[in-house]
């Protein structure tokens, strides 16, 4: 009897302690709006040493090295404001930020991509940096790119480097087929791409391949070349219209597959899994994010002669601007100092090093000029760096439910379409119906 009473009391005591621990945490969760003053004015030099945390998903070795050098140079010049680098893997960035924001322990400076900012901005987790951006930096970046990081009228992420989907060609195979490599003033249209891909196809070898295992980003971003904007209306309650413009690119891809100009197996491969086929000459041309250039440089056979060609033209050469960004957490106690570090990161030489390391396009003109000087015309880098002018605002990135729609609706629907399990009309209907469902 005594033992039972003791055990019951112990169980009740444990429950009470647990409840006490959990109830004491209510204040720090939620919007995170309370802890930091709104950023304003220039950074001030603190009288006591402070530490800023900077989380980054820099992945490719040259980029990791360039990022570390930026942090080291900042720490050397600012001994009272130490920046501590926190490396995160790309696929965990969002999950980690969700817990960190909710727990009030977000890093001061956050490296993320613009597509991920909408939700965090809407929940008030990211500081409004509009008034902190120096005029020189503002004028150095295209308006369309600034628009891509503006949520509810506030700029919550400073754009750094951006990606386009471009075509990599095997110049030897093109030459053998009598096909001239296009130039910046005479780019290919999608009709040209299809015709030349057909010309380059024979037997088991295909003229074109595109790793569309995760099809949504590629098809939507590159599909902006046909004016497919998908989302319209108020940022808070956007509506989706999937019309001819939005379905043009998937339609053309399917036509190329049916015409045997494009490798059908490539639609089930990732963007980098098509590279072995490109190296072996099985695919004369591949479409991929331009970051792939770093891998081709290190892994392709020395005998492979390749180049990047200008962005393929639809009704325009536009592609969605979805740059990587640097944000400041609203919870940060030192937003001005955090922004000062971002300004340091964004200086032309440093941003150029980051862009070259990741084989991505620096969004500032000054950094782009430095990268262009360094890379010259090697492997078509001159035309790709110029394509920064074709980066256009993608309205779907502003929708807070876009990420959920992308993973739950768009990706499976596009995959089914590319496997010929559903037709184009059904794809369009399912995409828009899915949008309504996700937003209801």
């Amino acid at each position: 009897m005594k033992r039972r009473l003791f055990l019951s009391a112990a169980a009740l005591g444990t429950a009470a302690v647990s409840t006490g621990c959990l109830s004491g945490t209510g204040g720090s969760a939620g919007t995170g709006a309370g802890s930091a003053a709104a950023p304003s004015g220039a950074a001030s030099t603190p009288t006591t040493p402070i530490k800023l945390s900077f989380s980054t998903y820099a992945f490719q070795e040259p980029t990791v090295k360039a990022t570390q050098e930026i942090v080291d140079s900042w720490n050397k010049a600012n001994p009272n404001i130490t920046v501590e680098l926190q490396k995160v893997d790309a696929s965990s960035v969002h999950d980690k930020l969700v817990t960190q924001f909710a727990g009030g322990s977000a890093p001061d400076i956050i490296h993320d991509e613009s597509a991920d900012l909408a939700g965090f901005s809407a929940q008030g987790y990211l500081a409004d940096l509009t008034s902190l951006i120096p005029a020189a930096l503002k004028s150095d970046v295209a308006d369309s790119v600034w628009k891509s990081v503006t949520y509810g009228g506030k700029i919550t992420g400073i754009p750094t480097i951006a990606q386009v989907y471009n075509v990599f060609v095997n110049t030897d195979l093109l030459q053998k087929a009598g096909i001239a490599v296009p130039t910046a003033d005479k780019p290919w249209t999608y009709d040209d791409l299809a015709a030349n891909a057909k010309k380059l196809s024979s037997g088991d070898n295909f003229g074109f391949a595109w790793g569309l295992k995760s099809p949504t980003a590629g098809l939507m971003n590159a599909g902006l070349a046909f004016g497919g904007t998908f989302v319209t209306g108020d940022e808070g309650k956007p509506t989706m219209k999937v019309g001819d413009a939005e379905l043009e690119l998937p339609k053309r891809i399917m036509a190329m597959i049916n015409d045997k100009a494009m490798a059908p197996t490539s639609v089930s491969m990732s963007g980098t899994e098509v590279l072995p086929g490109f190296y072996a000459g099985k695919y004369a041309m591949v479409m991929a994010g331009n970051y792939v250039a770093t891998q081709i440089k290190s892994a392709a056979p020395a005998t492979l002669k390749w180049t990047m060609i200008p962005l393929i033209k639809g009704t325009s050469q536009n592609q969605a601007a979805g740059p990587q960004t640097l944000s400041v957490a609203k919870q940060s106690k030192y937003p001005q100092q955090a922004m000062a570090f971002i300004n340091h990161y964004m200086t032309a030489e440093k941003l150029a090093a980051i862009g070259i390391g990741d084989s991505l396009i620096p969004v500032t003109k000054s950094a782009g000029d430095i990268a262009a000087k360094q890379l010259g015309t090697t492997n078509g880098w001159d035309v790709i760096l110029k394509s920064g002018a074709n980066l256009a605002d993608a309205p779907w990135f502003k929708a807070t439910k876009f990420a959920q729609w992308k993973s739950d609706i768009a990706t499976p629907q596009y995959q089914q379409f590319l496997q010929a399990k559903i037709d184009l009309a059904t794809l369009g209907k399912n995409l828009s119906d899915g949008w309504v469902k996700v937003n209801s």
Binding site: Q86, S91, S105, A299
Partner: protein
């Protein structure tokens, strides 16, 4: 009854296929670790590297501080295994020998805790650890792992303890042995195989765990091996296959070595343990 010769042959053939099925991924991991980036992207992959290289191991050890990550994982896994076992052992004995309502409630708690999706508790867990000052610390991670693996460890040990007849304790009591002496000299030695099995389970669970470590650990110097492995996978399916394989191989070795040493005790422990009502 002795099986017929042809049956024995078929059994060995089936066993051979099973070993190949289990062992082939490990063999592929080992050979991938020694391949250069060029060799990893050939269209016709080869099992064995044509030009073996150790560059992937150098990259793993020098660029990402693998040594520190392995040490962190070892500290966390050993601490988790020890603390979990120390807590679970007396608790399992009490539950096995006392048929009360508490036993039913505890077993129910164990079962419910195993089906609960841990992603639902990760945010409150983060907040609790932050308030306790245990965020971004190996101690906080050990605490999380102990709490997470304790129910199943308790469940496993409960089975092993139940398998030991209570007659042995009664016989010891008849001979004048006290409760403590009975536990130390008779019960615990019989529990060694079970203890080894449950300790290894707790060790491996903590060694391989990723998500809680991702949430709790912020500083690079406190990262565990699974967090380091994840950093070789970039966006859009971009993978540094060679360094990933090298790191994965090095990370797998401690578990493999420990299993090789204690496998007899582990197998007998798994064979002996069975949940008995």
């Amino acid at each position: 009854m002795k099986p017929k010769p042809y049956v024995r042959v078929l059994q060995y053939i089936a066993l051979g296929f099973f070993i190949c099925f289990l062992g082939f991924p490990l063999l592929w991991l080992v050979t991938t670790a020694f391949k250069s980036p060029r060799e990893l992207t050939t269209i016709n992959p080869t099992l064995f590297p044509t030009m073996p290289t150790v560059d992937n191991f150098f990259a793993a050890m020098t660029h990402n501080n693998l040594g520190q990550a392995l040490l962190n994982s070892l500290i966390v896994a050993v601490s988790t295994a020890v603390v979990t076992t120390v807590l679970a052992l007396p608790a399992s004995y009490a539950l096995a020998r006392n048929r009360s309502r508490l036993r039913t409630v505890t077993i129910g708690w164990i079962l419910v805790s195993q089906v609960f999706p841990f992603i639902l508790i990760v945010i409150p867990l983060f907040i609790v650890l932050k308030n306790l000052g245990l965020l971004n610390s190996l101690q906080g991670l050990v605490l999380v792992y102990v709490v997470w693996s304790l129910p199943f460890t308790l469940w496993m040990l409960l089975g092993y303890v139940s398998a030991i007849p209570s007659d042995l304790e009664e016989a010891a009591a008849t001979d004048g042995a006290g409760k403590l002496a009975t536990l130390i000299q008779i019960i615990f030695p019989l529990l060694v195989p079970g203890l080894v099995a449950t300790t290894m389970f707790a060790f491996i669970s903590a060694w391989n765990e990723f998500f809680f470590a991702l949430v709790v650990i912020q500083s690079p110097e406190l990262q565990t091996a699974p967090l380091l492995l994840a950093r070789y996978v970039g966006a859009e399916g971009n993978v540094q296959l060679g360094p990933l394989a090298a790191t994965a191989l090095i990370t797998t070795l401690p578990g493999l070595l420990i299993f090789a040493v204690i496998q007899r005790k582990l197998i007998s422990g798994m064979m002996a343990g069975a949940v008995k009502g």
